[in-house]
């Protein structure tokens, strides 16, 4: 271009129309920044990962066999051509209990010579805090960003085997001092694979010095190769080097391992034989002991029976004795009664006799008294005669007469005396007789009283004797009953012991059988020689980067489209404005190419500058942001940005071409016109009736400003599309941003509150008996903090996913109805409840989706005991975290040919504060046979933390959206204003106030913004779905929903951007001089 004047004009033009220049510069900048930035993030991700792999000596090849690797293998491998470093490594899964939380650790060996330049130190640890172990009792643990383990440097950590075997058998020491926290390129993601112990998932890893491992064989051998570090291991060139070495290593290892297999098999069989012997011994002992105990119980039973019999007998005899005695007493009583009757009779008779006797006596007394009176008379007569006789004067005659008289009297007296004598005797005898009868009566009365007394005493004695006997019998019976109860207890205890013993024996036998079976089943050992294609973290991260690549295909296109439209609008306006100048130049004789060159140069300089600016900024910001966003899920060192010149050049070139094409398109129409036409003002674009006018109902209600707005909107189609597309992009980005938060943010709530209704799970030890399970369940149920609890079988099974075993939980609830209270099985979309039936299993949605399973399909699942069966899918349930399979016990039995037994207690708590949970945890962990305890409130909380860190992605999206909206709206307004300068000036002259003027101009912006927002909602829904499906983790299903309020936010923020642009432009509008209206049309 030698036309200096024209060139000068071009540069002046840039300075003069800086706003326009900047608007092209910016939109191209943004377009290129997005395009180059997002695209660059894929190589940057892979490059950063590869550098990390190289720096920390990630293995190129991993060698394993089912029977381990020997030291000789290591020696042999060192000699293989192309092999650089060789490290025989030990690793095992162990558990660590901390705060009632069991974590499964992958324990890996590391050499004490942990210098980074030790070529045989492979899969090195990247120290984040502290240092690497220097002594054998030191360890480093994973620096765990998300699920904070709460362990610190200086703490001691103790590992356990997580199985019945003692960890001491395999490790020299089980307690280590933590001296550092590390990351390793071997485990990039938080997904560290499955484990056969604990929860079935590896939570953390730790490195300990290799001397601590007791094993004879290495678990695996890691190799690094020569000449690969300078290559990016995500490129094919890397695998070109790896492939031949891998082949050689494979053939070497296969022969070595096969040789060793025979040895091991023999040894194992010997060990089983020993085991059987021991089993038989134990069984014998068990049988003996049971028999002995049974005998003892039988003896006790017999003696108890004897005692009872004796007692019964004694009871009988005693009863007879009592009866006899009672009879005797009765006889005596009868006798007494008779005696008394007789006595009464005698008494009555005697009384009668006495009366008679007394009458006789009275008569006698009367007679006696008469006689005695007669006698007395006689005596007196005699005395008188005596006195007469005694008188001296008495003659003898007289004396004779008197003596005769006396004689007569004496004779009378004698006679009287004689009569009196028997009478008196008679009286005496009657009196005696009476006294005697009385005496006799008294005597018999006394006798009767005595008899009665005796009888009474006899009765009392008998009653007492009875009572005593009864008491004795009762106590005897009690003793016997007690004995019986004891016997029953003994029997029960024996039964329990018998059952437990039988269980244990059965288990031991099963185990022996299983082991033998296993050994017999032992196939020829398998060797695995794996390169990074089989390395989970490598592949996972690679696929994450590739998914990002998929986003980078869609995303930037959008910005390019908007950029093209903005450039086209801007350039069209510029050419329109310079119509006359073009005419003049044409008239002066410049060729079309020369004239067009001005616009092309203008556009190219703006776009190249903008492109370079955008590329530099974009390729720094976007890879960094994207890398860090993925960094939430992967622990990686900081990003390694690469100068991707070809990509930047492509983006800039592409953007410039689009802009230039827009410039050419814009001036082409003008250039084909003849100069004279160009010199004249362009015929104003016709006002046209628009469709809306045909609907008088709407149109009539419009005032003229509405009408102008409506007509303008439909008249300038380019602007319409530019704005609608640009704004829809803005809204879409916002909606996607908020939607990401909605979809991910709700996972925790849905999973841990809606689907998992329980708050705690407690896993039993694997060797627990049924009665112990019962006891533990009761124990949980009896806790104050526990609302309800139930136990069910949960097996940590596996399914095969591209050659690798992935974890899946098999839930086999014994009570299907009750199970519904603990885990909600429902479909995601319609929330239709699913029921477990005996004809199939319900699978979680994410797994179904990943494995393309639908209802009726079958799916091979290992139940965790090495039994792999095909399970029929009968339903697909909503689930967000992890994979699970739900089935009824009978279906489980049908499929796996064994009964499900409960492994886990699920409990709902009344409150889930950490104090309550800690207290409950402490109580329950003291119980025997508890393998692990998990509180879900903690898990939900840590999940929320992870998600909240995603919010800065949303911030990036909002900023991008804002930029987009700003550029588009600024441009639209700018073009509108500059094109309608006269119109605006005119209405100002007509007396419109400033706010009326801006309303006149902005109404169009607002309406277009609104239309764009609405369109953006639809674009946003699609964009959101795309991002969600691309960003999803393997065992987490993100939600797909966007809350209504997010739609509101997206539209509101878009409108806010529009208002902000309008505010900026308001000043410009205000400054438009009214004199413009007087100028002639350019």
């Amino acid at each position: 271009m030698t036309k200096k004047a024209l060139l000068k004009d071009t540069f002046r033009e840039m300075r003069k129309s800086l706003g326009r220049f900047i608007s092209i510069f910016m939109i191209v900048g943004i377009g290129v920044a997005f395009f180059a930035g997002v695209k660059a993030s894929v190589p940057d991700m892979k490059g950063s990962a590869d550098k990390y792999f190289d720096d920390y000596n990630l293995m190129d090849i991993k060698v394993m066999s089912t029977i381990g690797m020997s030291k000789e293998d290591v020696q042999a491998l060192t000699k293989v051509n192309g092999v650089n470093g060789v490290y025989g490594s030990y690793s095992m899964d162990v558990v660590n209990m901390r705060h009632n939380q069991m974590r499964v650790f992958k324990l890996m060996s590391m050499p004490l010579d942990s210098a980074a330049n030790n070529k045989n130190y492979i899969n090195q640890a990247r120290v984040i805090e502290g240092r690497l172990p220097k002594k054998n009792d030191e360890c480093v643990i994973e620096k765990d960003a998300i699920r904070q383990s709460g362990m610190n440097i200086g703490d001691k950590i103790t590992f356990a085997s997580g199985t019945e075997d003692a960890l001491r058998d395999r490790l020299k020491r089980t307690t280590y001092t933590i001296v550092g926290k590390v990351n390793t390129p071997y485990y990039l993601s938080y997904e560290k694979g499955s484990s056969s112990i604990g929860s079935g998932e590896i939570n953390n890893y730790a490195f300990i010095p290799e001397e601590n491992f007791k094993g004879e064989y290495f678990t695996e051998i890691y190799l690094t190769l020569d000449n690969v570090k300078q290559l990016n291991s995500y490129d094919d060139a890397y695998f070109d080097i790896v492939k031949p070495v891998k082949k050689e290593v494979t053939s070497l290892v296969e022969t070595k391992v096969a040789d060793r297999f025979q040895d091991i098999r023999d040894k194992a069989l010997r060990k089983i034989a020993d085991g059987r012997k021991e089993y038989r011994k134990q069984k014998q002992k068990y049988d003996n002991e049971i028999a002995k105990a049974q005998q003892k119980l039988a003896d006790a039973q017999t003696s108890l029976q004897d005692g009872q019999q004796e007692l019964n007998h004694k009871k009988q005899t005693t009863a007879i004795t009592f009866q006899e005695k009672e009879a005797e007493l009765n006889t005596n009583a009868n006798k007494l009664k008779q005696a008394r009757q007789e006595y009464e009779k005698g008494k009555a008779e005697f009384a009668k006799q006495k009366k008679t006797v007394q009458q006789q006596l009275a008569l006698l007394d009367k007679n006696i008294a008469q006689l005695q009176a007669q006698l007395q008379q006689l005596k007196q007569q005699k005395a008188a005669l005596d006195a007469q006789l005694a008188a001296p004067d008495l003659s003898e005659d007289e004396k004779q007469i008197l003596s005769v008289k006396q004689q007569e009297i004496i004779a009378g007296m004698q006679k009287l005396q004689m009569t009196l004598q028997p009478l008196q005797t008679q009286k005496q005898s009657a009196q005696t007789q009476l006294a005697q009868g009385e005496k006799k009566l008294t005597q018999s009365k006394q006798q009767i009283a005595l008899g009665e007394q005796q009888l009474k005493q006899g009765k009392i004695q008998l009653a007492e004797a009875k009572k005593t006997a009864e008491r004795e019998f009762a106590s005897a019976q009690q003793t016997i009953n007690h004995g019986k109860k004891e016997l029953a207890n003994g029997q029960r205890e024996l039964n329990v012991q018998k059952k437990d013993g039988a269980d244990k024996l059965k288990k031991a036998k099963e185990k022996l059988d299983q082991s033998e079976q296993d050994i017999n089943d032992l196939k020829e050992p398998k060797t695995y020689v794996l390169d990074r294609h089989s390395h989970y973290s490598y592949m996972d991260y690679g696929s994450a980067a590739d998914r990002m690549g998929a986003i980078s295909k869609v995303f930037p296109l959008f910005f390019f489209l908007v950029a093209a439209l903005v450039c086209l609008t801007t350039m069209t306006r510029m050419v329109d404005e310079q119509r006359q100048e073009i005419g003049t130049l044409k008239a002066l004789g410049y060729t079309k190419a020369h004239i067009a060159m001005k616009y092309i140069i203008y556009a190219s300089i703006a776009s190249v500058c903008g492109g370079i600016f955008g590329a530099v900024i974009g390729m720094i910001i976007f890879p960094t942001v994207i890398y860090n966003a993925w960094g939430i899920m992967y622990n990686m060192p900081s990003v390694q940005l690469q100068a991707q010149i070809p990509l930047a050049a492509t983006a800039i070139l592409l953007a410039s071409l689009i802009t230039v094409a827009a410039a050419i398109m814009a001036c082409y129409k003008e250039l084909i016109e003849v100069p004279s036409q160009l010199m004249r003002p362009k015929a104003p674009k016709n006002g046209k009736k628009i469709l809306m006018e045909r609907i008088p109902f709407i149109w009539k209600h419009f005032n003229f400003i509405h009408k102008v707005t409506a007509r303008n909107i439909f008249r300038y189609k380019k602007r319409f599309f530019m704005t609608v597309i640009g704004i829809s992009g803005c809204t879409a980005l916002l909606l996607a941003g908020f939607g990401i938060q909605d979809s991910i943010g709700e996972i925790a709530v849905k999973q841990y509150q809606e689907i998992y209704a329980f708050d705690m799970s407690m896993e039993f030890d694997s060797d627990i008996t049924a009665s112990q399970k019962e006891k533990l369940l009761k124990k949980v149920q009896s806790q104050d903090a526990v609302k309800e609890a139930s136990s069910m079988a949960v097996y940590h099974g596996f399914y095969a996913d591209s050659g690798e075993d992935k974890g899946i939980d098999l839930y086999v609830p014994s009570d299907v109805q009750q199970f519904r209270d603990y885990i909600m099985l429902r479909t995601r979309k319609s929330h239709e409840l699913l029921t477990l039936h005996d004809d199939g299993a319900i699978i979680t949605e994410k797994l179904a989706k990943m494995k393309h399973l639908s209802i009726g399909d079958t799916f091979a699942v290992d139940n965790g005991d090495g039994v792999k069966r095909k399970v029929k899918i009968s339903g697909i349930c909503e689930n967000y975290v992890g994979h699970a399979l739900y089935m009824t016990p009978s279906y489980y039995k049908k499929i796996y040919h064994r009964s499900a037994s409960d492994t886990t207690v699920f409990a709902k708590l009344k409150t889930t504060t950490s104090e309550v949970e800690n207290a409950l945890g402490n109580t329950l962990m003291k119980e025997d046979n508890v393998s692990s305890l998990t509180f879900y409130s903690g898990i939900a909380a840590s999940f929320e933390d992870t998600i909240s860190s995603l919010s800065f992605v949303v911030v990036v999206l909002i900023i991008s959206a804002g930029l987009l909206a700003f550029v588009v709206l600024y441009n639209l307004t700018n073009v509108n204003i500059s094109e309608r300068l006269r119109e605006i000036a005119t209405i100002k002259v007509l007396g419109f106030y400033d706010n009326e003027v801006s309303a006149y101009v902005y109404r169009e912006n607002i309406v277009l913004t609104f239309i764009g927002s609405i369109a953006g909602i639809f674009v946003g829904i699609g964009l959101h779905a795309l991002i969600m499906s691309l960003a999803e983790l393997e065992n987490v299903m993100f939600g797909r929903n966007i809350y209504l309020v997010s739609f509101g936010y997206a539209v509101a923020i878009t409108m806010l951007f529009a208002i902000m642009v309008n505010l900026v432009m308001y000043r410009k509008l205000k400054k438009i001089p009214m004199v413009e209206s007087l100028k002639s049309i350019e």
Partner: protein
């Protein structure tokens, strides 16, 4: 002060970078109500500046202007807008119609914002565009467009009708028709009409002719017998 419009020593100085350009260097004149005034002068004489200032589109550097007893030279931007809104009707050289509005709507654009507008349809009929009232400006000839502009200005029922080279973009006959319309408006409605032109032939039709030269009033002539438009030749 008795005059309807009074310019007293009005100066307008534009600052163009380092250079000061004096567009008006002390202008004095007055206009009576209902007068048809022609302001004439060569390009750059300052006649447009007078119009701008009088129309409230620009402010004075010094001096005072009274319109209907109010000192508009002391108005702020908002007051000026109000002044334009209610007191001024403006007819532009290039019509300045809103392309996206029909004839009727363009008139409505003006009437919607003033207090006592005239009837739109009558106004359109008065300027002879009854049949075209639903047409867009682009479908009209230049003269028709200017008539719309005049209708728009008149419909506001202004105190003052300012016309900036109203015939400048029109052919002879059409220009004459427009001038007739303006003159009739002045006569019939009693509105003061001020026409700016560089065409001295038009001075014959004004009641008062103000000639401007180099930012100064060259002469103010009262025309006792203004000619009707029909008799003017230019």
């Amino acid at each position: 002060m008795s005059a309807y419009i009074e310019f007293q020593n009005v100066k307008k100085i534009y600052q163009m970078g380092e250079v000061q350009i004096e567009a008006l260097s002390g202008v004095d004149f007055s206009i009576e109500k209902g007068e048809f005034v022609v302001i004439a002068g060569a390009s750059g004489a300052g006649k447009s500046t007078i119009l701008n200032i009088l129309g409230g589109m620009d402010s004075v550097s010094s001096g005072t202007i009274y319109v209907d007893g109010k000192e508009i030279s002391a108005y702020n931007a908002k007051q000026l807008t109000t002044y334009r809104r209610y007191d001024i009707g403006f007819v532009f050289q290039f019509y300045n119609l809103v392309q996206n509005l029909t004839v009727k709507e363009n008139v409505e654009l003006a009437t919607q914002i003033c207090k006592e507008p005239l009837d739109i349809d009558e106004t359109i009929e008065a300027v002879g565009l009854k049949e075209r009232s639903q047409n867009f400006p682009a479908q009209l000839s230049g003269g028709e467009q200017q008539r719309v502009a005049i209708a728009r200005a008149i419909a506001k029922n202004p105190k003052l009708l300012l016309c900036d080279e109203p015939t400048g973009a029109l052919d002879y006959n059409t220009g004459k028709q427009i001038l007739k319309l303006l003159q009739d408006t002045c006569r019939q409605r009693g509105v003061s009409v001020i026409v700016i032109t560089h065409n001295l032939a038009l001075t014959a039709m004004g009641d008062k002719v103000i000639k401007v030269r180099n930012g100064k009033i060259e002469s103010v002539t009262i025309n006792e017998h203004p000619l009707p438009v029909e008799r003017i030749e230019y």
